[in-house]
Amino acid sequence: MAVNGTPSPFVTLVSSDGFEFHVRRSAACVSATIRRMLDMQNNFSEAQTGICHLENISGIVLEKVVEYFYYNEKHRNSEGVPDMDFPSELCLELLMAADYLIT
């Protein structure tokens, strides 16, 4: 999707069970792992296609992760932001995903 140096503003995140999320690039780059994955200079295959297969993360977790990406980006420059609401049953999986994505 990236055509000659001007990367598209959206990327696709694919969960281990095949769900696809179209996410704004800037939001996805909240994750250090995804940021490096998409680095045009490093030019890995993900950077070329704009599609990231995240083999460790299930669709239900990735959805929450993407929600967090946007939440983080929206409130990045403000103070006193309340914590995001997470379903307690996903806690552990989310923690692992966060560790993996270095978020």
Partner: protein
Amino acid sequence: MLAKGRGGKIRAPRRGLTKDDVDFDSVWNTLSTAFLEIHSKNASRLSFEELFRNAYKLVLKKKQDFLYDRVVQLEESWLRDHVRPRILGFITPTMTVGSLEQATGTQSNERRIAGERFIRAVTDAFADHQLSMGMITDVLMYMDRVNSQDQRRPSIFATAMALFRTHVLRTPLSEDASFDVLLLLETVVLDMIRMERSGEVIDRPLVRACCYMLEGLYESFTEDESTKLYLTSFEPQFIAASRQFYQEEGKTLLAEADASTFCTHASRRLLEETERCQQTISQITETKIKHVVDEELISTHIRDVINMQGTGVKYMLDNDKIEDLANVFDLISRVDPKKVALKDAVQKRVIELGTDINKSANVISEAPPQPRTAAKTGADAKAAPEKTLSQQTQAAIAWVEQILELKNKFDRVWVEAFRRDGVMEKALEISFQDFINANDRSPEHLSLFLDEYLKRGGRDKTDAEVDALLDNGILLLQYLANKDLFETYYKKHMAKRLLMKKSVSREMERQMLSKMKMKIGNQFTQKLEGLIRDTELSDSLSTQYKEYVNKLGDPDPRRIDLDCRVLTTTVWPFETLFRADNDDESRRECKFPAPVERIRQRFQKFYLDKHTGRKLTWMPSLGDADLRATFTTGGKTRRYEVNVSTYGMVILMLFNDLAPGESLTTEQIAAETNIPKHDLIRNLQSLSLVSKWRLLKKEPMSKDIKPTDKFYFNEDFSSQFLKIKVSVVAGGANRIENSEERRATQKRTDDERGHVIEAAIVRIMKSRKTASHSQLMTETLHQLSGRFQPDVNMIKKKIEALIDREYLERGSDPAKPTYNYLA
């Protein structure tokens, strides 16, 4: 990220990574193949996610140390087996021979091309390595994170850079390992810079890349700023090579070029080095390399350049080479905030030029003895000195004008070339002071100069120009050390201007005084202001007197108008205004003709009525009178208004009482009038010898006045003008003093100074009660320096005198001379 206490239990991860075991070797295989792919620039086929996940797995399994070691091994072997041989392949035998040897022609060109190819290979390899390692580090990011938490190992990137340093740059090229790739690289770069310095075009971006590489590599893992290879290895070499280069260049330039070229060259070099630091090497070197240029090219040689024969600062000053001077100034201010060398040269030149001006003024001043001895005929003898005196006056004015011109010139140099620098300003001031005070007549010259312009108001000059000239004159006044001497002269000249009404305007005089007051203080102008005050008082007094006379109702139509100046004795410089040839004669009061005498007495009565207890002394030698004279020859009557000096009037009035054809001898006139002999002779000369206004005929017609000469009223006199002004020979105009007068002035000044010194000593002692000798001396000198340059011996003498007169006594301890004040 804690969940809120809403229902539902925490789900266990469905597919925990903890469960499946990881086979380190197989995972590492995937990674290492991928890393080699990355090094071979085939990354686009790899999935970052996969590699990252694999590395992540290994780290989760606590295998990060193994992983780290493996990566290091992999990089080592890659650098050793792939990168190093490629770079070594670019090293040609020509490059390794003595780097600074000057190879000629094709050989040097060959070497240069080979060198460039070599450093390009190195920098390219470095850039590749950096890029690849960046990617590998990204893949291993999770490992780095864990590592940095443990703080045990440097990041894999830093390690990889260090590996590049060890395995590529430190590859020994000779047996003893003292000559390695890095050294060769640096030598090539320095060679290129040297080529650029000698005017060749080099591949700047290449050198820049090279320096960039050295800046990115460190001696140690901690990546401390100061351990950059650039700083530890390249920069010292660069500085040393530059030092040598500039040492040599300085020597050759000094031998071959002139001062101007040297300076332009040096400034160009500075610019070049700045540019080089910004574009080719690194900015952090800028101050250091400039320091080298400062030291080797400027500091060492600037004095020689400034004093260079024929082209140095002297030449630049003489030929108004403002740009070159500015160059010299900029260079020397880089290395010496006091600018000693430049200051010395400029001062020397100023004093030389000033001394020339002094000399040329003095040559004219010393001329008079010749004509005086040559023209013995008597008639000429009188005229000749007068002429030379006026010449000397011109010379005095010229002296001031020349100095002003000189000052102007150096002021311009100061503004345009020396950037209004304080040190130079002071230096110029001092040198001007020096040579102005070297001429002991400068106070007189300056006063004459001011007189000239206050008197005529500049016939050929506009008001603004005259104003500027006067301002400049006051500027010079600041330089004078003996201001009291100037005050004496100025007072004398000003008094004459005011009395003879030669001043342009009183307003101008007052302006002048206020300007002086601003520059050198109140005390100085007090007495001078007294002159103006008296003049103004006299003006109103005269009006009052006129009213008084009108009230008396004197009906006499031939009434004589009287305009008197009443002058305070202590303020006006009487002693200089007329010469006391010998006291007896001047004390005798002049006999006025009867009508005048009546008026005189009336005024005296009027004045003394107003101010009791005062004494009026009449000074006819300073006044003038308007006469109406009638001449009849051949039946025609001609009337003229004649303006003569008061003495001239007294003399002419004598002839009123004579029958036509009768004569008076000099002796008779003297007896009738009591005019001092000197003034009498001068007045008779001007009345009888100058054809324009020959009111008296003299017998015999010679230029000398002898006691027995006879004078007749000249009935045949005629003139085309109705009003005639008879000026007295060597009368009113202010001119330079002859040596006799100068001696008198000097003596008077010395006396005056004696009083001032005594007053100062007493003032100091009164407040101090006791003071040591040196203390007293310094303080006295300090107090007096504003007015004149006190003579130490004179002060000592005055202290003695004060002790004699029991104002002071010596302290008891003879080892430490002190004085006590006796109230």
